[in-house]
């Protein structure tokens, strides 16, 4: 199964995301920002980094890239799309996911091993987890404070679309401790923490809690193919 990983100028965790795909048993396919073709992939990961230096707003310029038009169309058609950190920001900028990210409440970059609670284990990217499961994956960002208006937040809660919450310490001031959200269909998921950095016991924080994202999507794709 082919999982595309998009590289924008300034993407940093694209190789890591590709490695995580491979470790989960998928084929990682490099996708280039200027290329509107998705090369027949079954799912797409928008990786972390500072695309275009995050100079206008985090993820804003990347959201306008040719490849994103194809990703937005495919996502609306049901293709699984995961946005990690900067990728989450891109998904919000393209309005595939609601809300936006602003500067962390402490105004500093923060890098830590972050406990998360899986709130929705029914999405294309979380089916390998149990609802309420606690996982630890790295978090590293400076524009990671998730905000949306109250009505949107209530709606997200009501529809079970809060996918992850920070467990214990809220590292960046995100409203209602939200670490990640999903669209209504459950195929598009975005989160600030980095599951692709928690896939091997000897590197990163030493947890493999993030691997489930990638095994989940492979299962989802298999299920979609059977259906």
């Amino acid at each position: 199964m082919r999982i595309g990983v998009v590289t924008f100028p300034g993407s940093l965790d694209d190789r890591d995301a590709a490695r995580a795909v491979r470790l989960a048993g998928g084929d990682a396919v490099e996708l280039w920002h200027a290329d509107a073709d998705l090369h027949g992939v079954d799912a797409v990961v928008l990786p972390g980094g500072f695309s275009y230096g995050d100079y206008l707003r985090a993820g804003a310029i990347a959201g306008m890239a040719p490849v994103m038009r194809a990703v937005v169309d495919a996502a609306r058609g049901g293709m699984p799309v995961l946005g990690i950190c900067n990728g989450f920001q891109v998904l919000c900028e393209t309005h595939l996911l609601p809300g936006a990210m602003i500067r962390n409440d402490r105004l500093r970059f923060v890098c830590r091993d972050q406990p998360l609670r899986v709130e929705n284990a029914d999405t294309a990217w979380t089916s390998a987890y149990e609802p309420g499961e606690r996982i630890v994956v790295p978090l590293k960002n400076i524009d990671g404070c998730y905000v949306a208006d109250e009505r949107t937040l209530d709606q997200l809660e009501g529809e079970g679309r809060v996918a992850f919450r920070y467990d214990g310490h809220n590292p960046n001031g995100s409203l209602r401790d939200i670490a990640g959200v999903t669209n209504a269909a459950g195929n598009v998921v975005g989160l600030m923490p980095h599951p692709e950095h928690a896939v091997e016991p000897t590197v990163g924080p030493g947890s493999t809690d993030g691997l489930g994202f990638f095994t989940s999507v492979l299962e989802t794709i298999e299920g979609m193919a059977r259906a």
Binding site: P9, G53, T202, V203, G204
Partner: protein, 755 residues
Amino acid sequence: MTTHRELDTTDAAAKTPDQAQPWDELGLKEHEYTRIRDILGRRPTNSELAMYSVMWSEHCSYKSSKAHLRQFGQKAPASDALLVGMGENAGVVDIGNGLAVTFKVESHNHPSYVEPYQGAATGVGGIVRDILAMGARPVAVMDPLRFGPMDADDTKRVLPGVVAGVGGYGNCLGLPNIGGEVVFDPSYAANPLVNALCVGVMRHEDIHLASASGVGNKVVLFGARTGGDGIGGASILASESFDDSKSSKRPSVQVGDPFMEKVLIECCLELFERRLVDGIQDLGAAGISCATSELASNGDGGMHVDLETVLLRDPTLTPGEILMSESQERMMGVVTPENLDAFLAVTGKWDVETAVIGEVTGTGRLVIDWHGETIVDVDPRTVAHEGPVYERPYARPAWQDELQAASPSALPRPSTGAELRDTLLRMLASPNLASKAWVTDQYDRYVLGNTVLAQPEDAGVLRLDESSGLGVAVSTDGNGRYTKLDPYTGAQLALAEAYRNVATTGARPLAVTDCLNFGSPEDPAVMWQFAEAVRGLADACQVLGTPVTGGNVSLYNQTGEAAILPTPVVGVLGVLDDVGRRIPQGFREPGQVIYLLGETGDEFGGSEWAWVTHGHLGGMPPSVDLDAERELAEILVNASRDGLVDAAHDVSDGGVAQALAEAVLRHGTGARVWVPDGVDPFVFLFSESQARAIVSVPRSEEVRFTDMCTARRFGHQRIGVVDDGGVLDVQNVLAVGVDELRNAHESTLPAVFDA
């Protein structure tokens, strides 16, 4: 609009030999200016004067230090690992499997005091481009930092800015920050040290050198446009041809653009991979002047440059300013004519602006034209490599004897359990021993997905080859107090600790880089410190078999007459055949046995204890035993290979007490420890004797481990057992809960910098 008054060409210079020139303001000595005139057979043009003045500065020419640095080559131990030695942008070390690693540490001290964020950021950017220019992919950075007193107002300005700058640049660039140091001392108050180290990796065949060869090859400048950044000295010249008010607007601070640098890295790596560059040089200090003269000087011919082809951000720059500009994120390449189109296609793909600014010639001269008129015509070697060399006078300062005589032995020592407990907590919370998480949590330590160990571990460990697990460990160290007490020994201790830190993770130490931060070389006392430190380091490298591969010297670190503590920062790189075998610092498994390796003496000169509890600096630093360091390293490396120990932590600043507390805090476990018979508890806990480490050994491996130590006749004492009781219990002396330890250790920096 201002207009150019008159271009100072080589012709004009020949015709106006008596025209006064501001050599003094540019920092040249009269005899240096005379020598330039002798070399050229005429007065230099303004552009030439600017070039010589910067390239012959202390920073670029190493004129005061060169005579001493030669020892690193003369005494270099035989090493099969060294592929490229000193003198290039960075040394290159063979680590096996066809892979080579390059690493180097550099200073960006003064700019970081003026503008902490940008100074630190561009310090990271500069060292990363140095590594990139070797043909390597940069894979990690580390930042050894020194600041004034933690609670001084100015430190509250400088430290957060420096940390945000290191993080802001490195994080956006996508390089994990895997180690470094944060040290406070009053001597750094108006002169912080911001050193930056970068590690890069490449295949052997990808090594690139900075040389321009092949007549007709194109000289290409690519990356950011050239602006008026950091042209300090050259603006003096600018004021001659422009009205004065304008040049004063030129910023002396360089501003970094990490996004540009990230794109530049990927672009360069694609150029290397497709073999489209013959020679490459990064642009750092002295910008185009330095890059053209070094490339031409290292090549076999000459170079011709049409300076007006340089892409500018500010069209009002004069030729002299363009030559001097220190605008960041630029590289200079030498490209064959047949590769030029392919080269431009790659830079175009990455949206990296590129200009062909000249070509390699066979004249042996560096000739730079401005709209067809020659403004520079020099032998590049006289600019880049044949600058002045000084044998500065040096003398052991009169106060050195007094300092060494002021032994800490007379200081009151804690003796009761309660006093020792208080001392432990006080030291654990003291600025230099407290947790640096407030700093390091602002650095991305995980990006690129190969970080095996990062701070607060003894050394940063990176995986370089996914299939074999081959990796490297890197650590930096430098104790200014030890070095002040005895510069020869202090420099050796810096090496010994970095070497030990690397070995503690299980890595075999291979090579050294250094950043020598000292005061003014014009002060014979400082020059003596420098000379002694270099001699000590070169001698120790010889014994330990780890050659110095490159580095940097930073002089004039002083405020008025007061020099900083002499601070040789030493980086050691080691190799791990399989990073899965790395030994972390923290005690994890209850029931494992704790051993103290090495010999403990009553050594408190320059110690954290003397400093924290008495504000005392005097006596002699701990003694160095390089053979013992070597033996200890072999024990640790073998223990890693054979799986004999689960955790290991170097014993250094703060002694065994600090090491035990950190090992227990890592996973919140606990330990029961006993003071060996006949040893004074205070000395056991706080002495800073060298060549020591604590390890936790699974009971199943205990016999094999102690047999190995015995066979090597290396001191090893069973001092305790790991448990999960949440208490560090030094039996019959003191007991402290993990929560109290953690609170002491982790509250110090937040209390000051979050206030």
